[in-house]
């Protein structure tokens, strides 16, 4: 008996492969498969194993994997499609060879990024010498055809419009809340117990409303509040930002950023401290105010040009008014 049950791993393999009389059974548990998939993912994707995860499911009889791992990014890394295709290939191969399972579906989720050349990355490349080669490293040769969809810039324009105007969320929320509070209070007043408890307050309100002047004041406040809400609802609500859409992106610049940059440019041009230049940016023009150093003339045109250049470099041209203060500062 003891002689016949002695099975070496190689023999076991033979038993399973051939259709010889069965002398044992090899079962690969789900947990083992998952660990195997994680290991394969880590090796094939060249990522630390602890950053990879795998889940198994069935998909019409085949094994379906859901893999999560970081993406290799940075100059020199392969493209997303190249990385995911290579990973899929390796997983299907690996699970077929090592666990004899047919994988029909692999969902890949990139949950983070490994910068190409980072330490973890370098370590992984050192450790897995062989797999480092087979991820197709297209690098610069991959000519990313970025399809210029015709509606792309329209989409950008839409986003830009949205970014430059106030959403009016807070006023709308406040109005809805106020409506709720008033309505609930009115309902509560219908209960005799509540009405009795707040009688002192309602008496005051009644006295105020009894006089025509009191009524008019209350109504006038209501009318003004209503007009204010109407204006909030209708006015464009332009925010203190400006923007543009070009071939690749929608750019939105807060007016404050432009003002800071223009003030710095003027200060540099005139050799002044930044605190001596103040810039206010309005919709169409910016106004700069310079407090000169006593006894040092200020190059006004030059300052104007310097400020305009800042706006031009951003692609958001803006007229500039420079005013030099009558009195300088001794320093």
């Amino acid at each position: 008996m003891s002689a016949t049950t002695e099975i070496t791993p190689a023999a076991l393999d033979e038993t399973v492969r051939d259709d010889a009389p069965l002398r044992g059974r090899t079962a690969v548990s789900q947990r083992a498969l998952e660990r195997l998939a994680v290991g394969l993912t880590g090796d094939a994707g060249r990522v630390p194993h602890r950053e990879a995860s795998a889940q198994l499911a069935d998909r019409s009889g085949d094994l379906a994997l859901t893999i999560s791992l970081p993406l290799h990014a940075g100059p020199g890394s392969a493209s997303l499609d190249a990385q995911s295709d290579a990973l899929r290939e390796r997983l299907v191969e690996g699970l077929g060879a090592l666990a004899d399972r047919r994988v029909g579906w692999v969902d890949i989720r990139y949950s983070g990024a490994l910068a190409e050349g980072s330490r973890a990355n370098a370590r992984m490349r050192g450790a897995a010498a062989e797999p480092a080669e087979d991820a197709p490293r297209e690098g610069a040769s991959a000519s990313p055809e970025t399809p210029e969809t015709p509606d792309a810039s329209r989409l950008d324009r839409r986003v830009l419009r949205r970014e430059l105007h106030a959403p009016r969320t807070l006023p709308a929320l406040l109005v809805a809340t106020a409506l709720l509070v008033v309505a609930l209070a009115a309902c509560a007043l219908a209960l005799p117990a509540v009405a009795e408890a707040v009688a002192p307050v309602t008496d005051v309100v009644r006295i105020v409303l009894a006089e025509p002047v009191g009524r008019t004041v209350v109504l006038a406040v209501g009318a003004v509040a209503g007009l204010a809400l109407l204006v909030l609802g209708v006015a464009p609500g332009r925010l203190a930002r400006r923007g543009l859409v070009d071939d690749r992106l929608a750019l939105v610049v807060d007016d404050g950023v432009l003002a800071d940059a223009a003030a710095d440019a003027i200060a540099r041009h005139c050799g002044l401290e930044a605190s001596r230049v103040s810039v206010t940016v309005a919709r169409r023009r910016m106004r700069a105010r310079i407090v000169p150093t006593s006894g040092v003339p200020v190059d006004r045109e030059g300052a104007e040009r310097a400020a305009a250049a800042v706006a031009d470099r951003l692609g958001l041209p803006c007229a500039v008014d420079v005013r030099v203060s009558e009195t300088g500062a001794v320093s």
Partner: protein, 204 residues
């Protein structure tokens, strides 16, 4: 926050504002009865005021709650409406956000990219620049497609155009990596109040 929410916000403001302004304004006119509004007031007294005051003083028998004055029912209706509005606003509040930057279906499984990757590819290289205080990227949905909002705070004294150029480099890298053109909104953000209060120059 998408275009529909913005429209809803404004519609709510306009409707409530109109009702409030017109109602209170007309009540003032009725109170003071100016000569220029004589015709309108005559019409009001004859045909509009009686049914309204009748409605206001009416009471309706509600099964289970006894007899309730009509204004309580109106208030209850308004409260219900306000609750619905608030729930809608709360439910739609973060609708524009998304955690998935890209989904690419394939014949043998889909490939998706999380927001974290966008942060690492687009925001991190910018945040490492000396002229940038902070950079953040998040995924927003624009017309049901994912787009990226890249928000950058530029250090005082730096040229914002250079930060924009840096962002363009990062976007080029993203385009190369993904092979497609994700809409990008680049926002150069003003320094926050806190940063404004700090000294603009510092020595290390």
């Amino acid at each position: 926050m998408n275009a529909v929410d913005r429209a809803l916000n404004r519609i709510l403001l306009v409707v409530v504002g109109l009702v409030l302004a017109a109602g209170c304004g007309w009540a003032i006119v009725v109170e003071w009865r100016p000569a220029w509004a004589a015709d309108a007031l005559r019409w009001w007294d004859a045909s509009a005021a009686p049914p309204l005051s009748e409605l206001a003083s009416a009471s309706i028998a509600v099964p289970g709650a006894g007899v309730l004055p009509s204004w309580v029912l109106a208030a209850g209706g308004a409260a219900l409406l306000a609750i619905v509005l608030l729930v809608v606003v709360a439910a739609r509040n973060r609708r524009g956000r998304s955690s998935v930057a890209l989904v690419r279906p394939g014949a043998r499984g889909s490939t998706s990219v999380d927001q974290a990757v966008v942060g690492a590819v687009l925001a991190d290289p910018l945040a490492r620049r000396a002229d940038v205080l902070a950079a953040r990227a998040r995924v927003v949905r624009v017309r049901r497609r994912p787009g990226v909002e890249l928000s950058v705070s530029v250090r005082r004294g730096a040229d914002p155009a250079e930060a924009v150029a840096g962002a363009r480099d990062a976007i080029r890298e993203w385009d190369r990596l993904t092979g497609e053109r994700t809409p990008v909104l680049l926002r150069l953000r003003d320094r926050s109040l806190l940063e404004r209060l700090r000294a603009s120059a510092r020595v290390r």
